[in-house]
Symmetry: C2
Subunit: 460 residues, 2 copies
């Protein structure tokens, strides 16, 4: 918001090389705004502007840039400056950067670190991918239970400068075991001579260093925390995870779920950064599986080839009927997958959903059937002839629609439950997957209804 | 996590009516855990347990419960207790509760409030629905620029108890105008005799009280803040919005987007809480629109009735071909809608996407065409006869698949851009919507290819 206003002015300062003036303005900016500005500059200007920033601010800004821009900037920097930057970065954001880099580059980068930072970086990279350890930073404030509030605040004033958050303090015993977490709020409100032990309630929520990152998302969602402590298997405090990093992971997972809903394998990178061959691979796998599934429509149609040849008019309504089932199935599966993801319903609610979706599906089917019936009647009177038995044909189409739409709703709502029960992600029962299943069964429903209703008239 | 372990023990304490013991345990619990426990009890136990909680904790727990449970509890309470609870709640959570209640109940509830709280509640409810004002709480800490750090910390210790957050302090001038926001971190790290004015950078991000809630989500995402100040049109500080409330709104919006992706009108309530008639209405609207769109398939098929009657075998592969187009279209539209939502691509990238999707679509088409060709060949040799011209038929199917899949990718990727350009939500071009469009065009592509390739052989 700020950026938009000052941009031309800043561009002018860059162009006219008024660097000291530029620096004066930028040091008061929010790091996210500087990051935004950098993204709007060309490569040369980026490097130039970034060089102006004091090292602490530079590290803050760097953490908000995307990987490609980070790499471009690193390429433009001297070895000294790279070392400065990497040592200044938060350990968690540094791990995120290293995760993206090729292993040989990471090795080189680690050499730039001071012995102390190197140890931290290597330790964090030692945790499994997608584990809480990879999101962690060891820059937290640990205090002891016999301290007073005054002593704690003095300690923070002295040692708090490079800590990731001061919002929550962690109480550890003499073996480093986490015994409580206390919000800074409690310290700000308590009389200064209060002991830490008096503020403790012995009740805290923590993550394990080898927990899955998805677990971290769940716990953050439930407890509304800014940061959570991370312990090793012995209960010793080894780091903290902050909510901003977890929100980034949560956004990635939502993207994965949305992609899955359209039967696309999760992309690891944003759309424009995914190489086209990767993109084709990610899409071809599911598209081929669906295609092979959909082949059963040809097989099903084969069984009714005779009926079609006797009443070609039946084929005209086939796409209309099967797509209606697919659409109602997509609606049902999407609603159920999301409700399961938000814990609005659980596995044991399947029977409740079953009953509900039968009713819903039948009602929706009736609505579409009426529209379909009207369509055929209007066309017939408008001069397009469906033959002497058109009214029987209209009833066949209408009854099929009711059956197919109700069946679609039922399949679409039950498949996510079945997937979950079998241990798969319910999101696997994506809309295209449901539509494919409903297409095959829809053909069978349609021609069976036709057989029952039209034998002796349209079908000899 | 904690709840699961202690639950049987707690149940036992409730059953044996050991209330003072129960109370002793609960006051150390996290409000979210107590809320969880309450949801797992039956109605009578809920009321009983809730009555045990001290009023401050009761209000905290109450804020984590869903609306239906909140109402049940209120029904079980005395007027005095309701008054106590409502006065103790955070103004923002209270607004959220009032928003759900019928207007006459809200009126009654507002009468329970003290004159001071009543004024706050009425003011917050006065802001438009979906505006930032409705998410706001006036419980913030405002300070003056001539104070010292010591004075500020003393002030917090005295007046901070009922404030929503102490993480960020707001500097206002003598007219109440917001002039800066400063993190508590800066106060914790600065020498005690530092003046507030020395900590100020004059750079802050704020929301306007009438801003849309979506704007608030965007700003929170960009600036990684725990809370943001809200000002009126004159720039005076009137409240703050905290990130937890914004995250709730963001989750609702994601759900809306996901529902839209399957052509369901956004539900206002969770799946199990939506009355079945509402559910049918929400689904019937789009289902009917899609159905009417899909009717064009019957019209398109009508044009080719003659071809079908001459070569019924053509109809067998129709569902397979059109569904492949629908599936590749769904993939493309979902990828593009999400990439647009995350600002990975913007409107001006349409040509880049256009080129990419033509190539991707053609490649995917070729892959499926090969599978389709093999399928027909295998069936032919396995004894299922597609007639003497089967190899021409196989080529017709294969070429149609390439055309339809490429066309599907292109339509799917371009529709979100078109929607956005026209001022609609790109998410409107949902997978079923794209599939319907591709079905109609797919039929035309298939029979046109058939006409070109089979004239003089299968088609006389």
């Amino acid at each position: 918001m700020l950026t938009m206003l000052v941009n031309p002015e800043i561009k002018e300062l860059i162009k006219t090389r008024k660097y000291s003036e530029l620096k004066e303005i930028l040091i008061d900016w929010d790091p996210t705004d500087i990051a935004d500005l950098i993204l709007n500059l060309d490569e040369e200007e980026r490097a130039l502007l970034f060089r102006l920033l004091p090292k602490e601010l530079a590290a803050d800004v760097f953490e908000y840039l995307d990987y490609d821009t980070q790499i471009d900037l690193i390429r433009s920097m001297s070895h000294e400056r790279i070392a400065e930057l990497l040592n200044e970065m938060s350990p968690d954001d540094r791990t995120a950067l290293f995760e993206e880099m090729p292993p040989n580059v990471v090795k080189q980068m680690i050499n730039y670190l001071t012995p102390e930072e190197r140890k931290i970086a290597q330790q964090l990279l030692g945790y499994p991918e997608d584990s809480v350890g990879r999101l962690m930073t060891p820059d937290y404030i640990a205090i002891r239970e016999n301290w007073t509030v005054q002593e704690t605040l003095d300690y923070i004033r002295k040692y708090g400068h490079d800590k990731e958050t001061l919002s929550i303090l962690y109480v550890v015993d003499d073996k480093g075991k986490l015994i409580d977490d206390i919000k800074i709020r409690d310290f700000l409100l308590a009389p200064l001579d209060t002991r830490v032990s008096e503020l403790m309630d012995g009740n805290f929520v923590s993550l394990k260093v080898n927990d899955d990152q998805e677990t971290a998302i769940e716990v953050f969602k439930k407890y509304d925390r800014i940061a959570l402590p991370v312990t090793d298997s012995s209960g010793a405090l080894v780091g903290i995870v902050t909510v901003d990093d977890v929100l980034d992971v949560a956004e990635e997972e939502t993207t994965e779920d949305i992609h899955k809903s359209a039967a696309v394998e999760a992309l690891e990178e944003p759309y424009p950064d995914t190489p086209i061959m990767d993109m084709i691979k990610k899409r071809a796998v599911w598209l081929s599986i669906l295609f092979i599934g959909e082949m059963f429509t040809a097989t099903a149609m084969g069984f009714f080839e005779h009926e079609i040849s006797q009443a070609v008019v039946l084929a005209l309504f086939l796409p209309l009927i099967i797509s209606s089932g697919g659409n109602s199935g997509s609606q049902a599966s999407t609603l159920i997958i999301r409700a399961l993801a938000l814990n609005e319903i659980t596995l044991k609610d399947w029977l409740y959903v079953f009953r509900r979706e039968i009713i819903t599906g039948l009602m929706l089917g009736v609505i579409l059937a009426i529209i379909g019936f009207i369509r055929i009647t209007v066309w017939e009177y408008a001069g397009y002839s469906y033959g002497e038995h058109w009214i029987l044909l209209a009833f066949t189409v209408a009854c099929s629609i009711i059956g197919v739409v109700a069946w679609g709703s039922l399949m679409g709502s039950m498949l996510p439950f079945i997937m979950k029960k079998l241990g798969f992600d319910p999101a696997t029962s994506s809309a295209p997957f449901v539509a494919t299943l409903v297409d095959v069964t829809g053909i069978i429903i349609y021609f069976t209804v036709a057989h029952l209703m039209l034998s002796g008239t349209l079908l000899p």
